[in-house]
């Protein structure tokens, strides 16, 4: 048997040589969370090398911004990170306001915090639910979506849309709360805190198999997290105390203190647990907003055609996945000269190849799910 031996491949006693297998995971795959493609080089079940291939969902979002007036931006940025549109809109509206030097009224800022934190809960629910599904637990995802549905219902009655809300405006928000909305919100928060979070904790956190699958898997060093510019729950699970709401507070976060949820373990379990803890913190923040909600107008009077002065700005918010920022250049016209979105999923995804090396196929899914990417955000 004539076999050409490549360096690194061993020839067994029977003359066979073992070869690595290349496995294309995605873009059509149940748990790549969208259209991500991972080219895995496998040695048996062990990952030798991983190359993520992105761009299947690229819509040229930043170019779209340049071709639309500032007014039209929120509707498009909704689709960037499609699991937390409200937070994206906060980012866009905040950037344009900073560019124009407008300060939205206090009530609008508080409303933004309220809907933003609700959106964070909704987004983390999807993250945790689908993470359970990735690991083979079928029930958590349905319970999570059940609770998320209530948040989306509230958003629908507030903005008219379940999903792409188009609710923020430059200088404020579009609508005030409809009648009974705040009571509904309070009722949801009570129920969510009292039953839903403990249910999830019971189903996943204490589960031996879940712990075995996640603890010690996909460890990110704090220095590594800084080097890769990881943000959000991924970085906070590695012990990096960075949260835009605390370190560079914006809007009403300057008045409402946020407790950073930190964990030192840096593994998949820590990332999951940080998300769980952040949901509790978001409930607390929502309650604070409901207590202190000021009166007054919900929007400043701004011209229909927004023409910010020439200049550039960089504005970031803490999205559910990390620091989401918008860099904008205005040339004084109705259209942005340049808009660049710093997408947290995109940045967080870069650490994946380094994390996967040496793990098993099952861990690929566990690690990818724990980073919690949204492909709309990665590809923009």
């Amino acid at each position: 048997m004539a076999t050409e031996v490549q360096p690194g491949y061993e020839v067994g006693p029977a003359g066979f040589r073992s070869e690595e297998m290349i496995l294309n995971m995605g873009p059509q795959h149940p748990s790549t969370h969208g259209v991500l493609r991972l080219v895995l080089v496998l040695d048996g079940e062990t990952v030798v090398q991983c190359t993520p291939v992105i761009g299947y969902l690229h819509r040229g979002m930043e170019k779209i911004f340049e071709n639309r007036p500032y007014m039209a931006g929120p509707r498009y940025i909704d689709n960037a990170d499609y699991l937390s549109p409200m937070l994206n809109e906060c980012c866009y509206a905040g950037a344009v306001e900073q560019l124009m030097g407008i300060e939205p009224p206090r009530r609008a800022q508080y409303i933004r915090v309220l809907v933003g934190e609700l959106e964070r809960i909704a987004s983390h629910l999807v993250a945790i639910g689908t993470y359970g599904l990735d690991l083979g637990a079928f029930t958590p995802v349905l319970w999570c979506f059940r609770d998320r549905e209530q948040i989306l219902d509230m958003f629908e009655s507030l903005s008219g849309h379940r999903f792409t809300h188009n609710y923020m405006r430059v200088g404020g928000v579009l609508y005030d709360f409809p009648k009974g909305w705040l009571e509904q919100c309070e009722k949801f928060l009570d129920k969510f805190e009292k039953t839903s979070i403990p249910e999830l904790e019971e189903l996943l956190t204490g589960n031996e198999i879940f712990e075995a699958r996640t603890q010690g898997v996909g460890y990110i060093d704090p220095q590594q997290a800084l080097a890769y510019a990881l943000t959000g729950p991924v970085a906070r699970a590695s012990g990096v105390p960075f949260d835009v709401r605390v370190n560079r507070p914006y809007g009403a976060y300057r008045e409402i203190p946020v407790n950073i949820k930190l964990r030192q373990d840096g593994d998949c379990f820590a990332r999951y647990k940080v998300r769980m803890d952040e949901m509790g913190e978001s409930v607390r923040l929502c309650r604070t907003v409901l207590d202190k909600l000021p009166g007054g107008p919900i929007s400043v009077r701004s011209p229909i055609a927004l023409r910010p002065p020439r200049g550039e700005t960089y504005f970031s918010v803490e999205s559910a996945r990390g620091e989401e920022s918008l860099y904008m250049i205005s040339d004084g016209s109705e259209y942005p000269y340049r808009a660049k979105l710093r997408a947290p999923s995109f940045v967080n995804l870069q650490v994946l190849p380094e994390l996967l090396r040496g793990h098993k196929i099952g861990d690929v899914i566990a690690i990818l799910g724990s980073i919690d990417i949204v492909l709309g955000d990665v590809d923009r």
Partner: protein, 447 residues
């Protein structure tokens, strides 16, 4: 001559019953699973086809029968086409030995347990053929995984039944009286009918082996989950990792054969557990004399057998519900954890169980108390329950499943706090009206 005819009729009735029952039970089980899981997950499940969606699975099967028989052009043709049959045939065949009632069983097989175990291990060949013949990488990984898994879990599955067989050696008829019959005593039985009979002797009608060997049932059931590729051991077809594992390239009827075979396997595992651990068809008043006295010989037999079948099925479906319950609760293990669990945890556990059971039966003398082996049986039951409780309490540590509290060395976080240098607040002007306590709160946040 009359005996031969009777035997043939007996065999055909049982075989047809098994075949139809398998299809029926699998269909019902699929519906049951979808419905029960839906209830557990706050949703409705099938609703529209038939009353409460009861005909949904029937329609699904009909759809699968009518689908085009797709084949991958690069597949290994004979292996690919033969695999579903290799998987499905042992499932039907294994069903023959299950004793549903005193009449409905192939009594000729006195080696029922071995027969069942042997047939259930043929399945793995079908799965591996499917994985290999599909010429698909996901299918290949799934097939290899399932080969490793099913062979590994075969061992503790058999070993967990040994404890029961040892107990039947003591409980065999003629063994417990004052003058033990040495021909049957001390041997133990691997015939399903005799194991069922041992659990319902007149002097101890409720002596189900689950009371004497609860650990055996638990281990058997865990291995049954793994044998049938059910959650949390559903790695061969792990949806989120391997798309559909060895089933990836199958569709239509061939896929349906795997599907029904899998649910048939679950049914068999539950039926065997029912027969061996839950007393089979025994129920309160399980005495044929009562019925023949009231309804005559034929009528009494008929009614009695129908009731027995119903009781057996009720127990079996109760066990099947546990399958569903487990599936909707637990996540999936990783391949290496799965193997470690079988070899380093379950097999030693079953060996210890056999050792302890045997030692108790050996060292505690028979006939210590007035009637039979009360002492021996009671002590071994208590010890086994104690072992079960110990195993459950020390599960984490024994199974080595979790590294809670002691992460591996290379996973420990770096020493010293991490500091992030960031600019101060963003360049917006602060809100106009600020109350003093709010300002204090904001200060606390920045700190």
């Amino acid at each position: 001559m009359n005996d031969v005819v009777q035997n043939i009729i007996h065999f055909f009735v049982t075989f047809l019953f098994s075949l139809l029952f398998l299809m029926g039970a699998a269909t019902i089980l699929v519906y049951l699973e979808r419905k029960v899981m839906a209830w557990m997950q706050d949703r409705y499940g099938p609703l529209h086809v038939g009353p409460h969606g009861a005909l949904q699975t029937v329609m699904d099967v009909a759809k699968l029968l009518l689908k085009e028989d797709l084949k991958v052009s690069s597949a290994d043709n004979p292996v690919y086409k033969f695999a579903p049959m290799v998987f499905f045939a042992p499932v039907i065949t294994a069903f023959v030995v299950i004793p549903f009632s005193p009449y409905m069983t192939a009594g000729a097989l006195s080696t029922g347990l071995i027969y069942y175990v042997a047939l259930s291990s043929i399945d793995v060949i079908g799965v591996f053929m499917a994985g290999w013949g599909s010429n698909n990488k996901y299918a290949l990984i799934g097939g290899l995984r399932s080969t490793a898994q099913m062979i590994s879990y075969e061992l503790p599955l058999i070993l967990s039944l040994v404890g029961v067989i040892m107990l039947t050696s003591v409980l065999a008829p003629g063994c417990t009286g004052p003058n033990p019959d040495l021909n049957t005593c001390g041997v133990g039985s691997i015939s399903f009918t005799q194991i069922v009979a041992a659990q319902m002797r007149p002097e101890s009608p409720w002596l189900w082996f689950v009371l004497l060997q609860p650990l055996g049932l638990v281990v058997y059931y865990i291995c049954g989950l793994a044998e049938t590729n059910r959650s949390p051991f559903d790695l061969p077809e792990a949806e989120s990792e391997l798309v559909a594992g060895y089933l990836t390239e199958y569709s239509g009827l061939r896929w349906a054969m795997f599907f029904l075979g899998e649910y048939g396997n679950m049914t068999i595992v539950s039926a065997v557990a029912t027969a061996i651990f839950l007393g089979g068809w025994s129920f309160p008043g399980a005495a044929i004399g009562f019925w023949t006295d009231h309804l005559g010989s034929f009528g009494g037999q008929l009614v009695f057998n129908i009731i027995c079948v119903a009781v057996f099925l009720a127990k079996m479906f109760a066990l099947l519900l546990v399958f569903i319950w487990v599936r909707s609760t637990l996540p999936r293990l990783r391949a290496d954890q799965l193997m470690r669990f079988a070899w380093l945890y379950l097999i030693p556990l079953t060996l210890v169980n056999i050792l302890v059971t045997g030692a108790l039966l050996l060292f505690i003398p028979p006939n210590t108390l007035v009637q039979g082996d009360v002492l021996r049986i009671a002590v071994s039951a208590v010890v086994n329950w104690g072992m079960l409780v110990f195993v459950i309490l020390s599960f984490r540590r024994l199974a080595g499943l979790t590294s809670k509290g002691k992460l591996p060395r290379w996973v420990r976080p770096a020493k010293g706090p991490v500091t992030v240098v960031t600019p101060a607040a963003q360049s917006q002007t602060p809100p106009t009206a600020q109350t003093p306590e709010l300002a204090a709160g904001a200060g606390a946040a920045r700190k």
